[in-house]
Structures are given as structure tokens and as C-alpha cells.
């Protein structure tokens, strides 16, 4: 013991009261000890003072030189029940925008929806989503949303609107005028009921369903064949041979998420599956579906009917009927017919045409092949796309004749997407009462008197029946942000029913849907379960007896015989995977989403074949006009049929908001009615080269793999013979993988990801999901042109073979989380390091932005914040945000678990480390090991093809380990010994070599 000076003996003795105090303090006694220790410390000396002073001044100087902007955070005064800060809640809901459907889960953090996930309980979409569904959460925070009801463009109150509208409706009703309710296909049973109730109060109401991308051709053809207009349920999973004529069923045709799930199920060669379907695509333009086909046959759209007629002819001949004489086509339909006959009752022929006669030919083909009730179910029908084009035509002429007194527009936008837009506009002027119920500012509502803004679907109660017996519910995940009201509620209110729509739906379900259950539970239990699951599947069938008659088909066949294959240029108007019909064009995520085929974003353009481009002497970005009316830049697209050009619909919005306004050109006016239905193909167009060029934003400008084995593929035949086929190089490479250094080992978890290239269709849902989950900034067209897009995951697309008719391969690439990462050792400040779970991690606030890591990344997946894209920079006034993503409203979509990055910082895929941590915590609190498949990164969650598998590589039974053990597995650029944690399974095409 040290020498101690003391004043008295008492001082030397230990104070017993202290001990008592410590004992009574129990666990907290260390605090007392600490207090005493600090009290016992010698007082601050002059030197200490100077040290502290110097440090304070220095740190104050440093701190003040990089001041961070002050952001206000206001805590809850009263903690709401069920909201735990930092913990997300999920609500089951339904996405339906009049065109597409997905059963979804809405992730809500601190009261705001921030992410959409697929609902795996639904047997229709089975947890899959597409890009637009993923992006729909951002529409909730659209700057261009209507905030209050409006009359003639000025703010008003609901009471005022209700009073005036009801007055006018009554007046029209009394004088027996005509009220038209214009909507897209309604799949919500409760909404249908509400509309019926409205029509009962106002018997003069007529409901017109107007589908932008309609299926009138199929509806009318089926009406002729079956006596009932319906869209059947296609079963791509049951077909061994899929033949598609211009139907982009993986991208835009009818129900792409559902079809992708089915399609891929039959083509994945994992878990012992050895069988895969064969897919043959006949098309003029290069579509997402076409690029995935085993065989892709070029066919000009104007030849489609003749090709189908020839095919039917051959099939008939094979069936023993007399072969009719008709003009020949260049495509080999004879062997196709033979192939189809081989797969009788296990084939599926689909056609994207919207022409009744063409669809009648397809019906007859499927009938001959015995596909009905097997791969085409007629007792379960698709309830979306019920709109008959001629009804809309009729409505417009009635409006022009002044026969319509009131028009109530339910979230459709004919002033943008109706082909004869001037005629509609003229007619609209003659309608006395015009009411619109949009969510976001659009062209149509700009021309009406009353705007009664609807809720966004994430704010509203709703239900849906997408297919017979497949019900789902939508519930609000946030209180309405603005002074909006559910459209159904507006209608009900005008009809004098003041029940709120939630109660209305619940009543409807009690009366009409609950009886379809076995009734074991009470209604409340049933309702709660449905609300929790988001879905209810009754298993019911459409009971209408359907008998096939081929009279109409024969007639169509006879008329097709007379047609000839003309030598004209055809224009295909398609809807792409990003903005689609244009309804969601005002969504920065979607605008910046590169097209899976052209890799271009932020515009529409003319896709033109290399041969035609040579003839016209044009190169990319050259302006070309179509029929002298629309001038657009061209993209020379390998694989495009010689005389087929294609332009995407959905662009050229004028009256919505930033960023959609003025992006691209509106091609809807080029659509025309052929035989009563909208034709998405325009035959015989004139192209003229115009002066000048127009820059296009592309995220990939080199299209050849340069002979490198980046995407490895093989044929099914070769694969069955040797599973290693196409991947032989790997064995060679593995032999040479030697290092002087000890191999990295990971004790507990070692995260890895496997991607089945055979499953990935390139739909881009993962890209949007990633942006949404990880707050990936949107940079705008100029920055994409400068090759600075920020996407953490990209889908590389390469062409193979003849540029006029190439094969297409795709590969999603994100950070490969190399266990021997070239990026990590070059960072001078150790801002990027390897975690003990094998993650390559970024410490954003340590990064000083030398970009050395990005240069040294062989996969080029690191992204640099070249400008202040997010407003997170410490300087003010230098934010670069051409797409208005940093407004207070849009910022609500940010995921609070992921830091927004400031200017000058590198960022990249983190394997959704926030999700990993979250699930680890859950496992820890439940005192158990993490289960395989528990952690799902955003990309894997969104993937409708289930192409991405994530898990623990240390667990030999995990799915990802099994994938890694597969002979098909390889790693990208494995030969440079980066030891990536991402594996790819070779692509297998069902092709005869």
C-alpha cells in the first residue's frame, strides 16, 4: 500500500456507511464507486486545462468547418400503440392500377409506407412483383398529387363539391339525361357493388370500362368461340411447349408477374428438376419475352395473321383435314405444327394481337391442340382487362353528339391515352358536368370542372378479385396525407349512403364472400384472417357452361387465306417494363429504369433493325419521323425484324409533374381502331430521316462479351448429358486458384448469393426494389448520359451471334462481396472492409472519395456520389436533383435503416445488411439460430422468377450452399482470384444444337 498522509486515525479507517450505501445500491453500486473515484481525482492542473483547451479549440475548429445541416426530429407526445420506433410493421394489401395486379405486403416504418414486398400467400402472384409494383410506394409521395378537392382549378371543400355535384346529378337524372362513369376494368367486388348502388340511385348512369392496354381482341374472340367475353387463365407452368406470337407475357401481356412465376417454374433446373419447357417466340420487335425464348423467330406484325393461318392450315392437315391453299410465309410453320402436335394437350399458343380475327385463329389452334382446360383454363377467368374498345368509341361519339350530360372519370386519363384525343377533348367540352377522381395530376383532370381526388392505394380500403375466386383485400398503411377521399366513398355519398368504405367492404364481404367459406369461424375471425393474409381464395369456378364452337374461327381462317404478306414497314407500339402505359410515368425510379432490351431510359425512341438502319443510313440517336407526325431518335436494335420498328407507349406526358412532363413523345395518337379494336401495330408507316440528333440515356453501350466467359450457357441436351457443360472452364480455373496467403475463414455466418441465370428474365423488378430499400438516388437523364447512374444492381445484357438475329443473355450484377476483395486493400482510410460474416462493407462517413476502390473493382459495381444528389451535403445550395426526389414529400419514402449518402462518397450493394442485422436480432431475442431463407435481400424478395437465393454458405444444407455445389455454378471473373460470394448458375436453353 502506498504511503498516505492522514490527519486523524478516523480518516484512515474505512467509512462503514459507505459500504452500507454500496450494498444498498446493489447492481448500481458501481455508479457510486465511479462517482467517488472521480471525486478523488486531483483537481485540474494548468497543463490539463491547456490540453483540454487546445483540444476543444482544435475540435471546435474542425467541427465548425464541416457543419452538418440541422434536421428537425419531432418525437411523439403520446406513443401510438403498435408502433415501436425502429421496428417495421407489415400490412397485407393489393396493388391494382387498372392494368396490373399484385398481392403485396406494405412495409411501414414510423407510420410511413416505405417498401412494397410481394405477398407469398397469394397463389396468383406468389410473392412476385414487378418494377411498377415495387415503385408504386413512391407514387404515394408524388409531388404532383392533388391535395384537396378542386372546382375549376381552385381549392374547395368536400361539402361544397358534394352539394354541387349531387345537385347536378339529380337534375340530370330527373330530366332523364345521361351520366357516364368512366373507369378502367374494375376488379373490386365492393367497388362494383358501390357503382351498382350509385346506378340504382341514378338510373341514368352508364358504366364504361376503358382499358388503355386493352384485351378486346381476346374478349371478342372468346365471345364468338364460347358465347362469353372473358380472358381465360393461361397456365404456362403446365405447358411443355409455349409458342407466343407477339405476346410479351413476361413483360407486359395481361398478367406478367403471374406468368413469370409459372413460366420459370417449368424451366428451373434446380432441386433435381431435369425437365424444362420449350419456348418459341414469333415477333417483330425485340421484347423481353423474346429475348428469353429458346427459339426466336422474326415475324413482321402485318404477317402475323397469315402465319397463324398457315400454322392452323398445317395443323389441320396433320389432323387429316384437307390442306387449304394460301400464300406461303417465310417462317417454317410446318415443323412448328409437327412439334405442336407432339405436345398435344401440353402446349400453349398465345398471341399478343388485339384483333378479334387473329385471336379466333389462335383459339382454333389451341382447340385443335386440345389445350383448353389444360393449359388454358376457361372456368377461372382473369377479371382485369374487361374493357371493350368499341364501347369507348361509342361513348366518345355520344359525347360529341351532346348526348352525355355528366362524365365521372375514375382514375383513367383518356385525354392522354385515348388515340383520338382531340375528338375526346371536343366531346368533353359538350359534357355539362365533368368530374374526375384522380390520384395524381393528369391531363384529363386538367380539363374537368370538379376534381375529387382519390386516395392512393396505400391510403385506401379496397378489395379485388383478380381471377375467379382469388380475392384480396387492400388496407390503408398510412392515414391520407392530403385531403382526399376514396372514389367509392364519393360515389356512395352522392348516392346518399354515408357509410365509410371500410365498413362497406366489410359488409359486402360478410354478405357475399363469407358464405363461400365453410363457416367454421365467425365472420370477424374470417375478416381478420383475410386482412392479415391479404387474400382469400375460395376455390370457386365460373359456373357458366362453356362450349367451344369453331364457326367464327373458320370464318376468320377463310378471310385470312386471302391476306398477303405485304412488304411494308410496320410499327409496333409496346408498353415497356418501366413506365408501362404511362400512368406511373411521374415516378423517378421508373423513368431511370433501363429497358431490359435496349438499356435506355428517360425517353422513348424508335427501335429499328440494323438492316433498315443501313438502308436509311441512320445510326443511334439520329432523329427520324414516323408518318411525318412524330419525330424520335432511333436505336439500332439487333434482332429487330428487318421492316419492323417499335416505339414504347407511356411517354410524352404533359400535365402531371416533374419528372414525367415532357419526357419522350406520346404515341397513343398513332393507335387506330382496326375492325373495332385498338391495334397496337400500325401497318405501313413511312419513315423519314430528319435533321439532327437527340441524346439518349443508356446504361450500357457495349453489347458484346468480347469472347469472355462472363455468362456461360449451354443447351438442355448437353446439360442432361453433362451438367458441367458450358461451365467446363471452371474446373480449369479452380486448379489454378492458389494463394500465398491463408484462405479467409468465417466462423459463424458466411453470406452468399446464388443467381440462377436460367430463371432470371431480366424484368428489372430487383433494380427498383433495391433502389427503394437502399435509398439509391435518382440522378436524372443528364447524369445517366454521363454514365453515372447509381443503381446498386444492374442487369447486364449481351448479344451473341448474328447482329440481325442475335441470341440475348442476361446477368444481374451487384457487389460480389469478394472474400479477396480488390477494393478493400486500396482504400487509404479503411472505409471499406470485410466483415467477419464475409460482407464487403462500406463506412460512408469514413469515405473520403478517392474512388480508388471503384477503379479497382473488376465488376464495376461501386457507385460514386458525383454531385449532391440527396441533399445530404454539408454545403447548401449545391443539390443536384432534376427529378424532385429531395422534396419533403418524396423524402418520406426513404428507408430510415439505410443512411442517405452525401456528395463525394462511394456506395454499393450491401447484401441488404440492415435486413441481415434485423433478422439476426430477431433470432437472438428468440434465442435460436438463424433459419435458412430467413434473411431475404430486397432484390431476391422482389424477383418474380425466384432467381436469387441468399443464405449462409457455412451451412451446407442451405439453399445457397446447394446452388454453390451445383455443377452449373460459377463465379464471375473467378480466374483473378477475387473469391466472390455471388455465384451464377449457367443458362440452359432448350435448344437443339
Amino acid at each position: 500500500m502506498e504511503n498516505k498522509y492522514f490527519k486523524s486515525l478516523e480518516e484512515l479507517r474505512v467509512d462503514p456507511s459507505r459500504e452500507l450505501e454500496e450494498q444498498s445500491a446493489g447492481d448500481k453500486s458501481f455508479i457510486l464507486k465511479l462517482q467517488r473515484e472521480s471525486a478523488a481525482l486531483p483537481p485540474t492542473s494548468r497543463r490539463d486545462f491547456l490540453k483540454a483547451f487546445g483540444f476543444t479549440i482544435a475540435s471546435a475548429a474542425v467541427a465548425s468547418s464541416c457543419e452538418q445541416p440541422v434536421r428537425k426530429a419531432i418525437p411523439f407526445l403520446i406513443q401510438p400503440e403498435s408502433i415501436i420506433p425502429g421496428k417495421a410493421s407489415y400490412y397485407a394489401s393489393t396493388f391494382y392500377d387498372g392494368i396490373e395486379y399484385s398481392s403485396v405486403l406494405v412495409k411501414v416504418r414510423d407510420g410511413r409506407p416505405i417498401k412494397i414486398e410481394g405477398n407469398s400467400l397469394s397463389s396468383v402472384t406468389k410473392g412476385g412483383t414487378n418494377a411498377r409494383t415495387q415503385a408504386s410506394v413512391l407514387n404515394l409521395y408524388d409531388n404532383a398529387r392533388y391535395k384537396t378537392p378542386l372546382k375549376d382549378g381552385s381549392e374547395t371543400s368536400w361539402e361544397q363539391v358534394d352539394a354541387e355535384v349531387v345537385g347536378k346529378l339529380k337534375e340530370i337524372n330527373n330530366r332523364n339525361g345521361k351520366i357516364v362513369l368512366l373507369s378502367s376494368s374494375v376488379i373490386s367486388p365492393s367497388t362494383t357493388a358501390a357503382i351498382e348502388e350509385f346506378a340504382q340511385v341514378f338510373p341514368v348512369v352508364q358504366h364504361v370500362e376503358y382499358d388503355v392496354i386493352s384485351a378486346s381482341g381476346i374478349l371478342e374472340a372468346n365471345h364468338a368461340s364460347f358465347g362469353q367475353a372473358f380472358v381465360p387463365s393461361y397456365r404456362f407452368d403446365k405447358a411443355d411447349l409455349i409458342v407466343s406470337f407477339d405476346a410479351d407475357f413476361l413483360g407486359s401481356w395481361l398478367s406478367p408477374v403471374e406468368y413469370t412465376k409459372q413460366y420459370v417454374k417449368n424451366r428451373k433446373l434446380v432441386d433435381g428438376q431435369k425437365k424444362m419447357s420449350r419456348h418459341i417466340q414469333f415477333e417483330g420487335t425485340m421484347s423481353l419475352t423474346g429475348t428469353n425464348a429458346d427459339y426466336r423467330v422474326q415475324m413482321r406484325p402485318s404477317h402475323q395473321k397469315l402465319v397463324l393461318a398457315n400454322l392452323l392450315n398445317e395443323l389441320k392437315a396433320l389432323n387429316g383435314e384437307l390442306k387449304a391453299s394460301m400464300p406461303e410465309v417465310s417462317q417454317d410453320v410446318k415443323s412448328l405444327a409437327a412439334e405442336l402436335m407432339k405436345h398435344k394437350s401440353a402446349s400453349l399458343v398465345v398471341c399478343g394481337s388485339n384483333n378479334k380475327k387473329t385471336q379466333l385463329l389462335v383459339n382454333e389452334i389451341n382447340n385443335l391442340l386440345g389445350n383448353y382446360s389444360v393449359t388454358i383454363e376457361t372456368d377461372v377467368i382473369l377479371k382485369s382487362r374487361q374493357g371493350i374498345d368499341s364501347r369507348m368509341t361509342q361513348l366518345v361519339s355520344e359525347m360529341n353528339e351532346g348526348k352525355v350530360d355528366a362524365l365521372i372519370v375514375l382514375d383513367v386519363n383518356p385525354l392522354y391515352d385515348y388515340p383520338e384525343v382531340t375528338k375526346f377533348a371536343e366531346g368533353l367540352k359538350k359534357v355539362g358536368l365533368t368530374v374526375s377522381m384522380p390520384v395524381v395530376t393528369d391531363e384529363t383532370s386538367a380539363a374537368v370542372t370538379y376534381i375529387c381526388p382519390d386516395h392512393h392505394y396505400l391510403e385506401a380500403w379496397n378489395d379485388a378479385e383478380i381471377k375467379t375466386g382469388f380475392y384480396s383485400l387492400a388496407q390503408p398503411a398510412i392515414r391520407p396525407i392530403f385531403n382526399t377521399r376514396a372514389a367509392q366513398e364519393s360515389l356512395l355519398r352522392w348516392a346518399g349512403n354515408t357509410t365509410d368504405f371500410r365498413a362497406y367492404i366489410s359488409n359486402y364481404w360478410e354478405k357475399n364472400i363469407y358464405p363461400k367459406t365453410d363457416g367454421l369461424f365467425g365472420f370477424t375471425a374470417f375478416w381478420n384472417k383475410c386482412l392479415h393474409d391479404g387474400i382469400f381464395e375460395s376455390g370457386e369456378k365460373d359456373l357458366v357452361p362453356i362450349a367451344y364452337t369453331n364457326a367464327a374461327s373458320i370464318e376468320a381462317f377463310e378471310s385470312a387465306k386471302g391476306s398477303s404478306a405485304g412488304d411494308v414497314i410496320d410499327l409496333v407500339l409496346y408498353s415497356n417494363v418501366s413506365v408501362g402505359s404511362g400512368k406511373h410515368a411521374n415516378n423517378p425510379w421508373l423513368q431511370e429504369l433501363p429497358d431490359p432490351v435496349t438499356k435506355a431510359c428517360w425517353d422513348n425512341y424508335i427501335m429499328i433493325s440494323p438492316r433498315l438502319a443501313d438502308e436509311l443510313n441512320v445510326v443511334d440517336e439520329q432523329l427520324v419521323s414516323i408518318n411525318g407526325s412524330v419525330t424520335l431518335p432511333v436505336i439500332v436494335q439487333p434482332g429487330q425484324e428487318y421492316k419492323t420498328v417499335a416505339v414504347a407507349l407511356g411517354y410524352g406526358r404533359q400535365q402531371t409533374g416533374v419528372p414525367a412532363n415532357g419526357v419522350g413523345k406520346n404515341l397513343y395518337p398513332m393507335l387506330s381502331l382496326i375492325e373495332g379494336t385498338k391495334s397496337f401495330d400500325v401497318y405501313d408507316v413511312q419513315l423519314a430521316v430528319e435533321a439532327g440528333t437527340y441524346p439518349l440515356a443508356k446504361t450500357q453501350s457495349h453489347h458484346s462479351m468480347e469472347g469472355r466467359e462472363l455468362i456461360r450457357d449451354t443447351s438442355l441436351e448437353a446439360y442432361l448429358e453433362d451438367p458441367q457443360s458450358g461451365n467446363e472452364t471452371r474446373l480449369e480455373v479452380k486448379k489454378h486458384l492458389k494463394s500465398l496467403y491463408p484462405e479467409a475463414t468465417f466462423d459463424g455466418l458466411h453470406w452468399g448469393m446464388a443467381i440462377d441465370l436460367n430463371a432470371c428474365t431480366g424484368c428489372n423488378a430487383c433494380v427498383v426494389a433495391c433502389s427503394s430499400e437502399n435509398n439509391v438516388p435518382v440522378v436524372g437523364k443528364e447524369q445517366v448520359i454521363a454514365s453515372r447512374e447509381m443503381h446498386w444492381i444492374r442487369i447486364d445484357r449481351y448479344y451473341k451471334g448474328d447482329p440481325n438475329d442475335p441470341e440475348v443473355v442476361r446477368q444481374p450484377v451487384m457487389c460480389q462481396h469478394c472474400d479477396n476483395a480488390p477494393c478493400e486493400n486500396v482504400c487509404p482510410v479503411a472505409a471499406t472492409t470485410h466483415s467477419n460474416e464475409g460482407l464487403n462493407q462500406m463506412a460512408y462517413n469514413r469515405c473520403i472519395g478517392t474512388r480508388y476502390c471503384a477503379n479497382n473493382c473488376p465488376y464495376k459495381v461501386r457507385r460514386f456520389n458525383f454531385l449532391d444528389y440527396t441533399g445530404a451535403d454539408s454545403f447548401t445550395g449545391n443539390t443536384y436533383d432534376p427529378t424532385d426526389m429531395t422534396t419533403d414529400l418524396r423524402r418520406l419514402v426513404l428507408n430510415p435503416d439505410v443512411t442517405t449518402r452525401a456528395k463525394g462518397v462511394i456506395e454499393k450493394c450491401s447484401f441488404c445488411v440492415q435486413r441481415i442485422q434485423e433478422k439476426k436480432l430477431v433470432a437472438k431475442t428468440e434465442d435460436r439460430q438463424l433459419r435458412d431463407g430467413e434473411v431475404v435481400p430486397a432484390c431476391a424478395q422482389a424477383c418474380p422468377a425466384e432467381a436469387i437465393v441468399f443464405g449462409n454458405l457455412n451451412d451446407k444444407n442451405s439453399k445457397v450452399s446447394q446452388y454453390f455445389a451445383s455443377e452449373r455454378n460459377y463465379h464471375l471473373l473467378e480466374e483473378i482470384h477475387t473469391l466472390p460470394s455471388v455465384g451464377y448458375l449457367t443458362k440452359v436453353k432448350n435448344k437443339t444444337v
Binding site: C66, H703, T850
Partner: protein, 456 residues
């Protein structure tokens, strides 16, 4: 009959010691010429352009440059390596030539060293400005902090930090030590009180005593010994930035010697460019003679040839290695979209210096001046070719892009050129451009009695 030639005198003209002092101090005295004013206005304007570009970069971000997701370095690192290379001549001349007892270096070492310092300052500017978050640039220093954060000693960028700062400090000290006797001279010759006080302070009380001289010589020799390996190490380490990476075209073991000879090559070219003008403008033709120029041209032939061989070796290795990425990188250099840059480099660095094999050309001032400019350009393009053409097409063709500089990047480059010339112009007004004391030591090297016969 072979008559052994007389040794060429290093200094022309019949000079005595006081004449030497007078000649060399002349540019410092009186008002500067109008050419000086024109020069400093022009270079000052260029420096201001650079200041604007710096502001744009720091305030708006690196996005004001032409970089993108694939090409993360371009003009910034090109300029950095170029300037570092230029900064090699001075120390090479004063340290390595001192150790090799090359007395002719005395006429040029002062200005070459000054040029080195300024070039290193210009070079150091680029690693700083290329940081996305310049204000946090101090993270790169291994300073103790409460967050227990430490730098990554595996990173060549960190090695750069040490290499460059060490080189700058040693060069600065070496240069200043050499200046001290001359500063004493300037002080003694000063007529005005303030000037006397300033130079008196700067000369650290130099008296010229034997003891001072002895210490001065010893320190100089020690520093020369220290600086000599640095000449080799700095560019070796700079080349590690590339050589240790995985990018085809960067990942090459030949880089250290290749970079060092390239650096000396470009350094000598820049010295020539500057001195050919300086000797004329400051009437120092008798001190910096054609003999000096010729000697330097010989260094250029040697280093230029090494560089040329290195270029060819790279191609050989790309073929010999059998690595397809490597092979593509070099084919792309010579035939790809940036082939023009490659061929400028080849012409300027490999072909033009070979003209110096002709005595007529290497003793011709105009030709030397033009070729020195060519070498400067060629060496800039060498770095551009290495940095940009390697990056813009590496492993995955999906990420292949093109790079184009913006006005801001041009501004930064022009700005450093402006800074370089501004500082050099100030240097010739403030310090003796030739080491007076050292020149005096070689004045009699060829014998006094013969000096008239060589006076042409």
C-alpha cells in the same frame, strides 16, 4: 597524331568571381522587365482559372468533371503523375549528379530544384482535389483519435502520401541549404535596409567562415545521400498505385523502373523548356551553355529509350502472359477509341527523342526546345493512356464507357500550369537562379590561361 583535347570550360566568357556574382544577381535587381510582367499576368490569369475550377469542384463535387461509374480517375491522376514526374529532374540533378561528381550540374541545379519544388506542389494539389470529400482529407493522416480509427497501410494511396511529403520536405531542405551561402551574398550586396534584413534573416547569419563552409558541405552531402534514393522511390511508389491493382494495363511489375525513367525523362524535358527561355531572358547564356543543354539531351535519349523499351515490353508481356483481358487492354490502347492518345504518346516519347542522336540536333537550341515540348506532351499522354484507356474498358464489357474532360478539369490543369509559372517567375526575382557559390567553384575548371582561346 592524336592531340588530346582541352577540357571544355563549364562557364564561358572571361569571368572573374565578382563578375559571376554580378551576372547572377542582375535579374533580382531593379524593376522587372515588361516581359516578366506579361508572363506573370498570363500565368496569374491561368492560376485564377484554376482557382475557379477548384471552387467548382469543392462546392458542386467531382460531378463537375467528366468522370463516371467506370472511369474514376482521369485528368486528376494524369496530372498528378505528370507533375510528380517533372519534379524528378531537380533532385536528380542536384543529388545524383552531385554524388557522381558531375560538375556541370552547378549551373542548372538551383533552378531545376526550384522547379521540382513547384512541380511537387502542383502534383500534391491533385490527390487533394480529387477527393470527393476534401474537407475530410485529413482522415488520410494516421493521427491518434478517440474513435480508434486508423489508416490502411495496405493502400498504395497512403504510401503516396508519405512518399510525396517526404520527397517534398527533403527537396525543400536540400534546396534551402544550398541557398544559404547565396542568400548571404544577396544580403551583402543589398543596398536597401529592408532587403538586407530579410535576406539576413533568411541566410541564417551566414558569414562564409571555414567552419560554415565545412558544415554546409557536410549537410549537403548527407542530404544528397538521402535525396538520391528518394528520386527513385517516389515514382516507384506512385507506380504502385497502378501496379498493385487488378486492372489490366495497370497490373504490371515493370512499372517502377518504367515510371522512374519516365519521370527523369519528363523532368529533364521540363528543365530544358524552362532553361532555354530563362538563359536567354536573364542573359545567362555563358553559365548555362550549349554544353549543358547537350548533356541534358543525352539523359533524355537514355531515359527516352528506356521508356520506349518499356512500352514494347508491356506489349510482349500482354501476349506472353496469355491473359485475354491484358491482351485486350493493349490492343485497345493501340487500336481502340483512344488510339490517338496512344500514338501521340509513342511519337512524342519514343520517336522524337531519338533525334538527339544527331549532334546537330542536340546542340541546336530551337530543336531542343521543340523536342522538349514534345516530350512534355508525350509524357502527359503516357499517363493519360495508362489511367484512362486501362479503366474505360476493363473486365466487364457492360461497363465500358468513354471519358471526356470538362472545362473544370481543364481549368484545374491550366491552373496548376499557371501556378507553376507564377511561382517560377517569382522565384527568379527573389532568389539567385544559379547557385553562385557552386558556380564559382567550377569557374577555373579548365585553366585560367586558356580561357581566351575558347572565347568565341
Amino acid at each position: 597524331m592524336y592531340v588530346s583535347p582541352l577540357r571544355e570550360p563549364l562557364i564561358r566568357g572571361s569571368k572573374d568571381y565578382s563578375q559571376v556574382t554580378k551576372d547572377i544577381l542582375a535579374p533580382m535587381a531593379g524593376k522587372p522587365s515588361k516581359y516578366w510582367y506579361m508572363g506573370i499576368t498570363l500565368s496569374g490569369a491561368a492560376a485564377l482559372f484554376g482557382a475557379w475550377a477548384t471552387f467548382m469542384t469543392v462546392y458542386y463535387g467531382i460531378g463537375t468533371w467528366g468522370l463516371n461509374k467506370t472511369v474514376g480517375w482521369a485528368w486528376d491522376i494524369t496530372n498528378f503523375v505528370w507533375w510528380v514526374g517533372i519534379g524528378h529532374a531537380g533532385t536528380f540533378i542536384s543529388a545524383i549528379l552531385l554524388l557522381f561528381r558531375q560538375k556541370w550540374r552547378t549551373s542548372i541545379n538551383r533552378s531545376a530544384e526550384a522547379m521540382t519544388l513547384i512541380a511537387i506542389a502542383c502534383a500534391g494539389f491533385f490527390p487533394l482535389i480529387h477527393m470527393g470529400r476534401l474537407l475530410l482529407g485529413f482522415f488520410i493522416l494516421p493521427y491518434p483519435n478517440t474513435r480508434a480509427l486508423w489508416v490502411n497501410f495496405n493502400s498504395p494511396l497512403l504510401w503516396d502520401v508519405f512518399a510525396i511529403t517526404t520527397y517534398l520536405l527533403v527537396s525543400l531542405v536540400f534546396w534551402y541549404i544550398g541557398l544559404i551561402p547565396d542568400l548571404g551574398t544577396v544580403r551583402d550586396k543589398a543596398s536597401n535596409k529592408i532587403r538586407k534584413a530579410i535576406y539576413g534573416f533568411l541566410s541564417f547569419g551566414w558569414t562564409g567562415s571555414a567552419k560554415h563552409w565545412s558544415r554546409h558541405e557536410t549537410v549537403s552531402l548527407i542530404l544528397a545521400g538521402l535525396a538520391a534514393p528518394l528520386v527513385l522511390s517516389v515514382h516507384t511508389i506512385v507506380s504502385f498505385d497502378f501496379a498493385t491493382s487488378v486492372i489490366p494495363g495497370w497490373h504490371t511489375t515493370i512499372f517502377p523502373p518504367y515510371f522512374v525513367s519516365g519521370a527523369v525523362f519528363s523532368g529533364f524535358a521540363m528543365v530544358l523548356t524552362l532553361l532555354i527561355v530563362t538563359r536567354k531572358a536573364l542573359n545567362l547564356e555563358e553559365y548555362i551553355t550549349v554544353g549543358h543543354i547537350e548533356n541534358m539531351n543525352k539523359v533524355i535519349i537514355i531515359t527516352g529509350s528506356i521508356v520506349g523499351i518499356a512500352y514494347i515490353t508491356e506489349f510482349f508481356m500482354a501476349w506472353y502472359s496469355g491473359v485475354e483481358y491484358e491482351q485486350y487492354a493493349f490492343i485497345n490502347r493501340a487500336t481502340g477509341p483512344y488510339a490517338w492518345a496512344y500514338w501521340i504518346m509513342m511519337t512524342c516519347n519514343v520517336i522524337t527523342p531519338q533525334l538527339f542522336w544527331f549532334k546537330k540536333i542536340r546542340t541546336n537550341l530551337v530543336a531542343t526546345f521543340i523536342i522538349s515540348i514534345f516530350v512534355n506532351i508525350g509524357m502527359w499522354f503516357e499517363r493519360f493512356v495508362i489511367v484512362v484507356t486501362s479503366l474505360h474498358r476493363d473486365y466487364l464489357p457492360s461497363s465500358w464507357v468513354m471519358y471526356k474532360p470538362t472545362i473544370v478539369e481543364i481549368g484545374l490543369y491550366v491552373g496548376t500550369l499557371g501556378l507553376f509559372f507564377t511561382l517560377f517567375l517569382l522565384f527568379i526575382r527573389v532568389f539567385p537562379v544559379i547557385a553562385i557559390a557552386e558556380v564559382k567553384s567550377v569557374l577555373k575548371s579548365s585553366g585560367d590561361n586558356k580561357k581566351d582561346s575558347h572565347h568565341e
